[in-house]
């Protein structure tokens, strides 16, 4: 991490959005993550999207759980209320917050440990409730803060930094979200700003639960030899050996590739990930064919990115319960309390 705060000096020529705000107005506190962490790129993308969408910062609520990923809401939108909940419970807190006030933009940021291990149940049920929010999983397959244990998204056969091999199959949040009925499911890579920005923008604008699984490499603990994300596996299956070059942790990984193409990316530890963008003819609304498409590429050891599933006909939580448009937190007590006359009438049933 850097320990020198960026001075807030706004250039007079800085572009301004519809609210007259600059992109700097959407920034937050200084990141305390490792230099070069993919999560910071996601933060940057959120800042950019919020700026471009001209969201009034105070109309945005940002929530997270516990873990490296969950620290990130502190690093964007300092004029927004933030809620760093306990481990794995952000989906429930977001559900309650959304129940109280449906008229805010909700961004949840979580990680693979937070959403797929300790918080798997809450993640699934928030999807089922179709809470109107953007839910980003910064997925690196590893526990960072506790130094390198496998998470539930670690691939079979992946090796931890200390050498232990993961024997348990990974949970794929995207395929799970599709099966739970999420209306917006996407995957991207933290270093692919070109793809990430429109996905975050679309996810925020989607009415209902929008999941974006962002593969976000851990510069310190990601060491997945033998997995579908690893250097070794990739070398055997797709490309000639790529030497495990040392990538300075201060350099962010950036990629650019076209739709339908596969793109090998060398991670910080030298392992490699192959991203394949969904092809132009891919239909994200055709649920039946999506499963076999994703399965096909998973078998081939590739990670499909892009908007994987989309259905905008689903009712979100408030519509499902037919709740008034006015935020519940703002309804005057006089409208909520039946009063003494009603109480006296009601009590006849108990006489």
């Amino acid at each position: 991490m850097s320990f020198i705060a960026k001075p807030k000096v706004i250039h007079p020529q800085s572009p301004r959005n519809k609210l007259g705000l600059t992109v700097r107005d959407y920034e937050g506190g200084m990141s305390t993550l490792c230099a070069g962490c993919g999560h910071d790129s996601v933060t940057g993308a959120i800042v950019q999207v919020a700026f471009e969408l001209s969201i009034p910062p105070h109309r945005m609520a940002k929530l997270s759980g516990i873990g490296c990923s969950s620290k990130t809401p502190a690093y964007f939108a300092k004029q927004s209320h933030g809620f760093n909940t306990v481990h794995g419970r952000m989906p429930s807190v977001a559900s309650g917050a959304n129940a109280a006030n449906s008229d805010l933009w909700y961004i949840g940021v979580s990680g693979d440990g937070d959403s797929l291990s300790i918080g798997l149940g809450q993640f699934c049920h928030a999807i089922r409730r179709n809470v109107n929010m953007l839910y980003i999983i910064e997925n690196n397959g590893v526990y960072g803060l506790t130094k390198g244990q496998f998470s539930a998204s670690a691939d079979l056969g992946s090796k931890a930094k200390k050498g232990a091999e993961n024997q348990q199959p990974p949970i794929d949040p995207c395929r799970m979200a599709i099966s739970m009925g999420a209306g917006f499911v996407a995957r991207s890579f933290s270093g692919d700003k070109e793809q990430l920005l429109p996905l975050i923008k679309a996810g925020l604008s989607h009415k209902g639960f929008a999941v974006i699984d962002v593969i976000s490499p851990c510069v310190t603990f990601n060491d997945h030899e033998g997995s579908t994300k690893s250097y070794e596996y990739t070398r055997q299956h797709f490309h000639p050996a790529i030497q495990a070059n040392y990538v300075p942790p201060s350099e962010e990984l950036k990629v650019q590739y076209k739709a339908g193409e596969a793109m090998p990316v060398i991670l910080h530890d030298g392992s490699q990930i192959i991203l394949r963008k969904v092809a132009g003819k891919y239909d994200p609304t055709d649920r039946a064919s999506i499963y076999s498409y994703l399965e096909q590429y998973q078998q081939a050891g590739e990670v499909i990115t892009g908007l994987l599933y989309y259905d905008d006909n689903l009712k979100e939580m408030h519509d499902l319960s037919n709740i008034v448009d006015q935020p519940l937190s703002m309804i005057d007590h006089a409208e909520l309390c039946p009063g003494d006359d009603a109480l006296q009438v009601l009590q006849n049933v108990w006489r």
Partner: protein
Amino acid sequence: MSAGPSNNDFTVRIANVNGTGSASANALLMKSFFRMGIPVVGKNYFPSNIQGLPTWYEIRVSGKGYMARAGRIDIMLAMNAQTYRKDLADLAPGGYLIYDSTWPRHKLLNRDDVTIIGIPLARMCNDQFATARSRVLMKNVAYVGAVAALLDIDLDVIKASLEKIFAKKPSLLTANHVAFRLGYDYAKQHFDNLLSFKAEPMNATSQHIMIDGNTATGLGAVYAGATVGAWYPLTPSTTVMDTFTSFCERYRIEEETGKAKYCIIQAEDELSAMGMVLGAGWNGARAFTPTSGPGISLMSELLGYGYFTEIPAVIINVQRCGPSTGMPTRTQQADIMACAYASHGDTRHVLLFPSSPEECFYHSVAAFDLAEQLQTPVIILTDLDIGMNDWMIPALKWDDNYRPDRGKSLDAAALEKMESFHRYLDVDDDAIPYRTFPGEHPNGAYFTRGSGHNMYGAYTEDSNEYLEVVDRLRRKWETAKQYVPEPAVDYSDKYKVGIISIGSCDCAVIEARDELLASGKGTNYLRVKAFPFTDRVQEFIDSHDRLYVVEQNRDAQLRSLLMIETDVVAEKLVPLLFYDGLPINARGIIEAINQDLAEGVAA
């Protein structure tokens, strides 16, 4: 509690099989006494089962208005062959056992000191009704008829009750009336004037209602203006949300649009329910969750979060028998300690202890105010006895001038004038900071975190900054004493011994004190209504040399809490503990106090 039954002082217990539809018949019988103007209370002992296991319903008729379990059965309706032996044994000497004489009774099962009354209920109903289901259901109404005849219950009252129940189903009204007469006429014909006591009309119930605590709690949440309810179904708390839902459907639907002014979320578990309540409270809605002991265990992590981050929340714990799954359909007060200090780290929570459905209603409203005034989770501890049994209470009143006390919060106008806002700053020196709601104003933004934070709301690992926050939270606890309800105290300097009790013990303590006084042993009484304990509790303790602490758990949890939180020597507090899962009765309290006083005299 007198030695034996007399007019308007007796108990009827109905032994039945779960799932046979006896609840409405039992309610009919109980309401008949109430509508004759006689105070009455119903206690339901039901199994954790849908159909087949034994169930008992106990109706205590008490002219003096005692609401505790009598601890004595004068009439037993033995309608369940599986429990017949136990039911006969439970009957008080001189009591009456009513059984279905359609089938022969085992000769060996007999007692010389009770009167056996056989009524061929099944045979009469089989002759009268065609379908198997109606025969079973109508047998229940027929036994009500038999009891009504034996106790001289006013027939007009029964008729009016049936008409009220079946106002929309006239065909059922006729059938029920016929069934009632089967039992009534048979008993009149064969056992007229047999009983040594009966029901006599009084005028002691006209200003009262019969209601269970969960209904009253749910109603209180509606009146308090709660808009978000999150929950996971859990006996015995389920009906809190059931009733909240039905009242909302009645009072909270916008006429023009048919849309709801409330949001109820059935969560996937209690952790989630607690998370939702915190999310909604943080966002400015009045939010609550009903639960029971196992739910409190699951919610504990988030309760600590709510305490440390200062988010209002209302939790209703309808206590049941623990530990673990325990006996889900039996009552206890064994979550006092678990709630007082729920969660890891130095945490403490504001608790309310209603003693009846009446206080459930008023405490439910108070809890929402307290939670916002103090910006912290507030737990209401009721129990299965209060929550699920029908109690007679004074009719509820509502002050239409009531406005919710939202505590110290800043709106957009206030924030506009401020240069900076800091969430955890003790501006007014009462240890309660100001809070803001998301969406209100850019100046109001702050970051809520369960990790160490300083008084400005920023992350910290600095010892001094941490201490400033946790020490202020401790001072806020002192402030809380000015807000929570004072204990109920009945004190006279004539008396040297005192009783301290809590929640549903109250009804039994009231009765026990009357009886003790009648035998020349006057006592003083304090019932705690809230935690933290106010100065009144300390004063009461200081004014006595010996205090009986009456509560319904094994480990003397209220006594422990008093020892931790007040200045008292352990020897002064004598534990009187009742924890078999049945609602407390006065007899145990009287016997224990008499014994202790006798030992004191002997010493």
